[in-house]
Structure formats: C-alpha cells, structure tokens
Amino acid sequence: MNVRGEITADVATNSQVERGREQLEQEYDRLWSDFGASLGRLASSYENDAQGREDLLQEIRLAIWIALPRFRGESSLRTFVFRIGHNRALTHVWRKRKTGVVEAADELPDPGHSPETSAIHHADQSRLLDAIRLLPIPYRQVLTLTLEDLSHAEIGAVLGISENNVAVRVNRARGLLKERLLKERLRDDRLGSERQGRR
C-alpha cells in the first residue's frame, strides 16, 4: 500500500472509531435520560446519606459506561440497567466501613435529637422511603423493582431467581413494609400526643 493509501485507511479507521464513540455516547445519554431517575431512586433505597448516594450513583454511571459497549441485547435494556444498578449498590453496601447503620437506625434512639426534632425529621422525610430502606436487602430489591413497574419475569432476570420465588419475596416484602409503616405511624402518633400533652 502506498503512503496515500495508508493515510486514507488511517482516516477511515479513525472516523469509524469516532462514529462508534459518538454512537456510544448517544446511547449512554439516552439510557441515562430514560433510567436516570429510576437509578437515583435505587440509590436512595440503599443509601440515606446524600454524599453516599452521589458516590453510589457515580459508581453506577461508571459501571454502565464500561458495560454499555458489551451490551448485545441478550436481555432487555431495563434488565441490563437494573442488574448493574443493584450489583453496584450491593458492592457499595458491602464495602461500607460501618456495618448495619441503616438497619439499626430503626431500633436506636438518636441521643442528639429530642422527640420534637425527631418528629419534625420524620415528618420531613418520606415515610415510605425510610421504611423501604429498613427492609432486608433481598426484600428491598424485589420491592423497589416492583415499584419501578418491572414484571415478575424481569425481576427474576435481574435478580437471577425464578418467577415463583419473586412472587414469594414480593408478598413477604409487602408484609414487612406494611409492618414498618404501621410502626412508623404509631411512633409518630405517640410523639404527637406527647407534644400535645406537654402543651
């Protein structure tokens, strides 16, 4: 091949790479606009600290960016995105220095907060989100995926369990969530009546 031919071949290869890159960037942007909010909610269900949540989202973004060129359409895009999201979130939770912080939050009273400020805090925060965060991880996963409108088959594909197993877990998760919400409501009522009693 002469010099001119080599240059033409180089330019062609570079433009292919450039086109591939542009296509990948477009796919990533589209994917993020479709699933960004869902992934944000997913991160919220694992992490109640704002900085931790941002870190987790960042990990998920990176993992999606790295995995996207390898996505061959064997599963749906939703399955692909939620698999990465949950896998990264699990890694984030397992690697966290302090263990059981979120799980223990329900049982331990915060010494720095009076009942009044706790009541305000609880009123400000989403009761549902708090209750979901307190669920054991496997139940949290099926419930958040259900709330994101995934079918049992899709949830099964994300989690790697059978549809029957998904149904069982969803039922159990709903029962646990109802218990938690009731407990929260009773606690709020008790705090409210204590405040009124003092006045």
Binding site: R70, L128, A157
Partner: protein
C-alpha cells in the same frame, strides 16, 4: 380494606414522588456525567497500567541483581520475587476482568462471584503472609552471612535489617487490613443471603 393492587399503586406513586428529589443526579447534564464516567474509567486504567509497570520494574530489578551477583542465594531470591510478582499481577488482572464483567450478571450470580473474589482476596493475603515469611527466612540469614563474611559493613547490615523490619511490619499491617476487609465483606454477603433464608423459614413456619 385496601385492595392489594391499589395499595401497590399508592406506594408506587408515593415512591416516585418522594424519591424524585433524592434521585436528581445533582442537576448535572448527561454530557457532564458521561465525561466524569470517562475520566473515572481513564483513572482506573492508569492505576492498572501503573501496577503493571511496577511489576515490570520489580522483575527487571531482580534480573539486574542476579546479573550483578550470580550467586545461588541471589538466584533463589530472584526466583521467589519473580513468582510472587507474576502471581500478584495475574491476580490483579483477573480481579480487574471479573470486577467489571460481573456487573452484567444477575444479582445472585454477582453475589456468588463477589464471594469468590473475597475468598480469593483472603487467600491472596494469606499467600502474602507466607511469602513474607519465606522472604525473611532468605533475607535475614543472607544478610547475616554477608556481614559475617565481611562482604558488607556493619552500617549497611544494620540499615538493611532496619529496612527489612520496616517493610515487614508494613506488609503485615497491609495483609491484616486486606484480611479484615475480606472478612467484613464476607460477613455482609452472608447476612444478605441469610435474610432470604430467614424469610423463607418464617414463611414455612407461618404456613
């Protein structure tokens, strides 16, 4: 009593509303997020290239030592260094490959693989500890012998011993840290898996 699906729908709309504020990705544009992801990937790649370079430098250093001092003990030392460097680099490459390809797997497969990685990391730390013992068993007598044969001065002998102690303590702490992290992560994984088993046992008991 509320219908089950109506209950789910209520939760669904609440979930979307309440979690919406938390889900905002910092108000950043997708192009900005993409750039950040690309930068992070580049940083990770750079870190791995640095690891590989360090391995190459170690191999070259051991070869240079053998070339300068072609003695039996130097050959043994160089062989140990080469084997350990190759094993450590191979583990790092495997870990890197598994780490990112595992993300595409289902959560249960990912959990199983992650557990394997934790066990491998713990094994790696144990290997490192044994390797350190072997290194010390070679280095300390070798230095002493050289000092006894007047091949090195007292100051060089003391300096080398001090360096050996400092490095050994550093590595012992590092390996202990790795083992602690692996043990903690294994405990977390077991707790996640146990939650499912406990739920299943509870369901059976309630039937």
């Amino acid at each position: 009593m509320m219908n089950r699906d109506a209950e789910l729908d209520t939760w669904r709309s609440e979930w979307r509303l309440h979690a919406e504020a938390a889900s905002e990705p910092g108000g950043k544009s997708s192009a900005g997020l993409r750039r950040k992801a690309v930068r992070q990937q580049r940083n990770l790649r750079t870190r791995h290239v640095c690891e590989l370079l360090f391995a190459v430098i170690l191999l070259a250093f051991s070869a240079a030592v053998v070339w300068r001092r072609p003695l039996v003990e130097t050959y043994v030392w160089a062989a140990v260094v080469c084997v350990a460097t190759i094993v450590a680099t191979a583990f790092s490459l495997w870990n890197w490959r598994v780490l990112w390809s595992a993300d595409l797997k289902s959560v249960s497969d990912f959990t199983r693989d992650y557990k394997k990685r934790c066990l491998a990391r713990r094994r790696d730390a144990r290997f490192g500890e044994w390797f350190l013992v072997v290194q010390l068993a070679i280095s300390a007598p070798w230095l002493t012998l050289n000092y006894a044969r007047h091949r090195i001065t007292g100051a060089a002998f003391a300096g080398s011993l001090l360096m050996l102690v400092v490095f050994s303590v550093g590595f012992v702490l590092l390996f202990a840290h790795y083992r602690r992290i692996a043990a903690k992560e294994l405990a977390e994984i077991s707790a996640t898996q146990a939650a499912v088993e406990a739920g299943a046992a509870n369901d059976i008991a309630n039937q």
